[in-house]
Amino acid sequence: MIEKQYNITSAEGIHARPASVLVGALAPFKSEVTLEWNDKKVNLKSILGVMSLGVSSGANINIVANGEDEEQAMAKVAEIMETQGIGN
């Protein structure tokens, strides 16, 4: 299991578009990936889960990947966080 913290810098937080890109990109991975914020935890492969959390700009979130391809899944998260300007 690996985890990593991110600070959300995108002005709109993780809403529709950034959420779609993140969730869409994680679909092929076998690992379980979760997003934790404000004492709540959702499946990062679930668009409804991620949207329902409504992560806002400036939030500090925790992402946990667990499974055979956890490293690759985490690398994908990092890549999207950066290329989409979501957070760092």
């Binding site: 959420a19 679930s46 409804l48 329902s52």
Partner: protein, 575 residues
């Protein structure tokens, strides 16, 4: 039949007159049933999901071609919903373990999510419930074998009447036939409203009673400018709206023509029309409305709605984003204007008896030097991305300006030492909103690069009238000759030193004020983006020389009312 007036929320500008076409959504009735073959039920469910996905792929493709990728992204999100493990998991689980039909399992699960989003304390999230409803309804219709009426079948000029339009309905609207639409539910931020604005179809949403009161074929007028709906209009009303429609369309084409034009008076004098913004997202609207500059970027929003100061990097990102989008056009950023009525939860400032006259804006920044230096550094780092101008708010004395400017130069030197590239052409100016500064403008003009007059505060400080206090609202007088004389003093002082003066208060976009400001020689007018094209149209018809010739007469009037009636007489406007 009697004419009837209904109303709703104006969602997309324009006027349409046509026959009503009711877009009925079949009631999809779901009954709970026990099933014997769970594998067959699961297969039936999967195939309904697959069929829905391929339809959505087609709609998405169609939308990307007809409109743009941003609208098409809605359907990417819909497709993700149909792959969502948190939605599909519970459904298949219910079918398998409870032996219930797919329709019921789908409805129960999707209702849970719809309820979750609808209960959120945020309009944007509430609207997302409509997305879930749209996408799950499609699957449900496939399961029930019901075909959903599609707006693409319409081939006559109509106004669509519906309870609600789903995003997939809206993208199928052909503006050639669909002249407007009215829905009973929805708000200005629903997808259908946003798409209507993109397609430039007049629309009224949230009208509540249209489905129960309008039948197919009735003549309907939809006024998307103010939200009015007229059912069965008489000949006189139709004629009136034909006129209103024609003048709106004329104005729209005039505005469209002026969008990419410079702002020039009838006698060839150029002034700059800019916009006031609060966040980087606002820049799109500025460019859409033909803004030539940003005259005021209020940076406080970066600091608000959070629980700690924004970091230097976060600020660099926001400022760079604005500068890049403006692509070399002048961008005036106001440094943090907090305190007074604007509070930050994480900044425990002692309560003041007189916050508008207290520790706020530049006064607070000079006291909290680290916070201020961070903002200046961020601005300097972003400066290479565009045409940045910085202004300090609430300057009362020349020492305050010198102190702030020194901090700016120190941070600039530090960055240069760190080998970080910064622009060498950043202008540094001040807001003029305190009477002492307006009076001393000649002294300031020697040291600042520009002035921007903040009328809202200048009026309240000059008249000693709290603008939040309704009992003395009569003292809020933009046209009081005292204000106009101060404005003149500032503009003249700037011009004497070869500097420029802008204005970023409400007054800059006011149609009575514009001719006066033009005559006074104002160089830049900054207003809300949606006022720009109207102001540009007005200015193109005004002569600067003519307005100059009225200034002495206007400034020697005694009262605000006299100024307003002088201007009304001049423009031939009826009051």
């Amino acid at each position: 039949m009697n004419q009837k007036l209904l109303s709703g929320i104006a969602a997309s500008n324009g006027i349409a007159i046509a026959k009503a076409f009711r877009l009925e959504n079949p009631e999809l009735i779901v009954e709970k049933a026990a099933i014997s073959n769970t594998d067959a039920e699961l297969t039936r469910f999967e195939s309904a999901v697959d069929q829905s996905k391929s339809e959505l792929e087609i709609i998405k493709e169609h939308t990307a071609q007809q409109m743009n990728d941003e609208e098409a992204a809605i359907f990417s999100a819909h497709l993700l919903v149909l792959s969502d493990p948190e939605l599909l998991g519970p459904i298949t689980e219910k079918i398998r373990s409870e032996n219930i039909n797919a329709e019921f399992a789908l409805q129960e699960t999707s209702n849970m999510f719809i309820g979750l989003f609808e209960s959120m304390d945020n309009d944007y999230m509430k609207e997302r419930a409509a997305d879930i409803r749209d996408v799950t309804k499609r699957v449900l219709a496939h399961l029930l074998g019901v075909s959903i009426q599609s707006p693409s079948i319409i081939t006559d000029e109509v106004i669509i009447i519906a309870e609600d339009l789903t995003p997939s309905d809206t993208v199928q609207l052909n503006p050639l036939y669909v002249k407007g639409f009215i829905t009973d539910i929805g708000g200005r931020t629903s997808h259908s409203a946003i798409l209507a604005r993109t397609l430039e179809i007049p629309a009224v949403v949230g009208a509540q009673t249209v489905m129960s009161s309008i039948r197919n074929g009735m003549t309907v007028i939809v006024d998307g400018l103010n939200g009015d709906i007229i059912v069965n209009p008489d000949a006189e009303t139709i004629a009136r709206y034909e006129d209103k429609k024609a003048s709106y369309e004329l104005q729209k084409s005039e505005w469209a023509r002026l969008k990419n034009e410079a702002t020039v008076t009838s006698d060839g004098h150029h002034v700059e029309l800019g916009a006031n913004i609060g966040t980087p997202k606002d820049v799109v609207g500025v460019l859409e409305h033909g803004g030539e500059a940003i005259g005021l970027y209020r940076t406080e929003f970066l600091y608000m709605g959070r629980n700690q100061f924004p970091t230097e990097d976060e600020q660099v990102e926001a400022y760079s984003s604005v500068l890049k989008q403006m692509d070399g056009k002048p961008t005036v950023v106001r440094t943090l204007d907090i305190g007074g009525d604007k509070e930050l939860s994480y900044l425990q400032l002692p309560k003041e008896l007189n916050p508008f006259l207290g520790l706020r804006a530049i006064r607070l920044c000079l006291e909290m030097e680290d916070m201020f230096r961070t903002q200046l550094r961020a601005l300097l780092r972003a400066s290479i991305h565009g045409n940045l101008k910085i202004m300090f708010p609430m300057i009362a004395t020349i020492e305050e300006f010198r102190q702030a400017k020194t901090l700016f130069l120190e941070e600039k030197a530090k960055l240069e030492n760190e080998q970080i590239e910064v622009s060498n052409t950043i202008e540094v100016g001040i807001m003029v909103e305190i009477p002492s500064t307006a009076v001393m403008a000649d002294i300031f003009a020697k040291e600042v690069d520009f002035f921007s007059i903040g009328t809202n505060d200048l009026i309240q400080y000059t008249m000693a009238a709290d603008r939040m206090n309704e009992r003395i609202s009569y003292l809020y007088q933009p046209f009081n000759p005292a204000i106009l004389r101060l404005v003149k003093n500032v503009i003249d002082a700037a011009h004497k030193e070869g500097k420029w003066t802008g204005m970023c208060g409400e007054m800059a976009g006011d149609e009575i004020a514009i001719p006066i400001l033009l005559g006074l020689g104002l160089d830049e007018f900054s207003m809300s983006a949606s006022s720009i094209l109207k102001a540009r149209t007005q200015i193109s018809k005004l002569s600067k020389m003519e307005m100059e010739s009225h200034i002495d007469a206007i400034l020697s009037l005694s009262t605000s009312e006299e100024v307003v009636s002088y201007m009304n007489k001049l423009s031939g406007m009826k009051k």
